[in-house]
């Protein structure tokens, strides 16, 4: 006869059973492949022909100009886009938190709406609007503001700027929602007192809103940085990395190396491991800076 488990032990067993599927799936679908990718980065070829090449792939990074371009592009997007978007989201959130502003719900819904579109959809909408024969050019030509269509997505810097603006369009409302939910926890009397003391709007913004929202700003900064480092859908569908790979992102380069060129899984895994390191290091740095107390 089986020994009956006591209530406590039984409960303990059940609790681990509840956790097991979720834990195993994350271990198997995230940690295990991450380790595999790390091991793969020391090899060349695949399947039965794969061979150990030591740090060859890592040395190759330094000579690979396309890798440098993709890394540089990702940082351009990061430096231009993340601060612009977070500042805009902060301003919008603090305006919509002002009790005297009317139609808040309507404004919030409209600004939040871009989040309902998929990354592929909005990339294609922006691509069509800024195509050579697209909407932007025809409007500007009709208004006689330009005499010849501008090749927005065919020139390096205009294409990069359009990518930055498109990402900002899609994600500003998303970040604004985080700030709005954070602002709800700030007592309106704090602002009232500041007003009575004669603090201007920009002083209130700098001395109250930003310091009190710091943990949430940190969180959104980490999320946005993480997202930008993994940028793929936008560059693939807006410019397909062009012109001449000058707008390509790191993730798109990894995809090309794995599935568009003749497969180089080892080298692609090497670059993906660099992305992992960048995510880890930048998150750590932001936590260091963001957590500092005055």
């Amino acid at each position: 006869m089986k020994k009956r488990l006591t209530m406590g032990k039984r409960r303990k067993l059940v609790s681990w059973l509840f956790i097991l599927p979720a834990t195993l799936l994350i271990a198997g679908m995230s940690f295990y492949p991450m380790i595999k990718a790390f091991l793969l980065s020391f090899t060349k070829g695949f399947g039965k022909t794969s061979e150990f090449v030591g740090t060859y792939n890592y040395q190759r990074l330094f000579q690979d100009s396309l890798f440098k371009t993709s890394l540089g592009n990702t940082f351009i997007y990061l430096i231009l886009q993340v601060p612009l978007m977070l500042l805009l989201a902060l301003i919008l959130a603090s305006l919509l938190n002002n009790p005297k502003i009317k139609c808040k719900g309507l404004f919030r819904t409209m600004i939040f709406l871009p989040c309902a579109t998929s990354l592929v959809s909005y990339s294609i909408i922006f691509r069509s609007m800024f195509a050579l024969d697209g909407f932007a050019n025809s409007v500007l030509m009709n208004l006689n503001m330009i005499s010849r269509p501008i090749n927005w997505l065919g020139e390096i810097w205009p294409a990069r700027i359009i990518i930055v603006l498109a990402i900002t369009w899609r994600w500003t409302g998303y970040n604004m929602i985080f700030y709005l939910s954070g602002l709800q926890n700030i007592d309106p009397q704090v602002y009232e007192a500041a007003r009575i003391d004669g603090a201007s709007v920009s002083q209130q913004f700098r001395k109250i809103t930003i310091p009190l929202l710091r943990p949430i700003i940190l969180l959104t900064a980490i999320m946005s940085t993480n997202g930008t480092l993994q940028l793929f859908d936008e560059t693939k569908n807006l410019t397909n990395g062009g012109p001449a790979n000058m707008t390509i992102s790191i993730s798109q380069y990894i995809y090309k190396l794995s599935f568009e060129y003749s497969p180089q899984f080892g080298y692609a895994a090497t670059i993906s491991f660099i992305v992992f390191l960048l995510v880890a290091v930048l998150s750590f740095l932001q936590m260091k800076v963001g957590d500092k107390r005055d």
Binding site: F18, L25, F31, L95, V120, I124, A131, S181, L229
Partner: protein, 270 residues
């Protein structure tokens, strides 16, 4: 005008401009879906009558019906399984918490740092060996369990009164029944939030389907519309109709469940 009035004038002007920019591309998408490609190129900004022709051409040149079915099947299956697995774990991490489970939870949160680009290649070769290419299971497996959802359910379980669990145990209810019969009904708002976020993410996912769903028969909406721009001449009316069809379900969900959606993305923070 007084100084205060000028201030509010600028505040409203700014909000109106940003709101307009936010909805304009979507409005343009809908308008373009009803116009011929030539009208779209000319910059026509009013609804047209070409929507039926665009629709006919879309059905003739693409397998949009199949893609819609695939997208719905994949996103719905993933949402259901993901919610069961993650809510059960989130609940257990909070209700039965001890130092071991807290440790496991911290470890799981680290997975948020793992970029998908890094796990994609090993997953692809592994799934190839297991014959999961072009299958719903292959699409779902990497995103069923996410630290984000587990964390969301763990945080909301904090508000779940523990006395109820104890009372139910005295009544002789089993642990799993306490979860299914008491926790799930009470936590409906959290489930609604989790469903909107998970369904939208699944519906919109692109990189992994691009890798794992290579067969035309298993392609989803994002891949279908992405393929439409690969030709030399693009029919903008047809393209925007396809983009509209792909976007409409998530826009409807957004308007119906906006509050839940907002809670879903910010919920784990609180």
């Amino acid at each position: 005008m007084t100084k205060a009035k000028i201030k509010y004038f600028f505040a409203y002007a700014f909000l109106i401009i940003v709101s307009f920019i936010s909805i304009f591309p979507l409005l343009w998408m809908l308008i373009s879906a009803t116009n011929t490609s030539l009208d779209v190129i000319r910059g026509k900004m009013s609804f047209g009558t070409a929507i039926v022709d665009n629709f006919k051409q879309l059905i003739q040149t693409t397998q949009i019906g199949q893609a819609l079915i695939n997208s719905f099947r994949n996103a719905a299956s993933l949402t259901i399984i993901s919610l069961i697995v993650c809510s059960l774990a989130g609940y257990a991490f909070e209700i039965y918490h001890d130092k071991w489970k807290d440790g496991v939870m911290k470890l799981l949160l680290l997975s948020m740092m793992v970029p998908f680009a890094a796990t994609m290649i090993p997953l692809f070769t592994w799934f190839g060996k297991m014959n999961l290419i072009n299958t719903t299971a292959g699409f779902m497996l990497p995103s069923i369990s996410t630290a984000f959802l587990i964390f969301l359910f763990r945080q909301s379980s904090r508000n779940f009164p523990y006395e109820i669990v104890e009372a139910a145990r005295i009544e002789g209810m089993s642990e799993i029944r306490i979860f299914t019969r008491i926790f799930v009904p009470i936590m409906k708002p959290t489930y609604a939030a989790a469903i909107t976020v998970t369904f939208m993410n699944a519906w919109n996912s692109y990189l992994w389907p691009l890798v794992i769903l290579q067969d035309k028969k298993s392609q989803t909406m994002p891949i279908l519309i992405s393929n439409l721009i690969s030709g030399y001449t693009i029919n903008y009316g047809v393209l925007m109709l396809a983009v509209s069809i792909s976007t409409l379900p998530t826009i409807i969900i957004f308007f119906l469940l906006q509050k839940n959606f907002a809670e879903g993305i910010t919920g784990a923070v609180k």
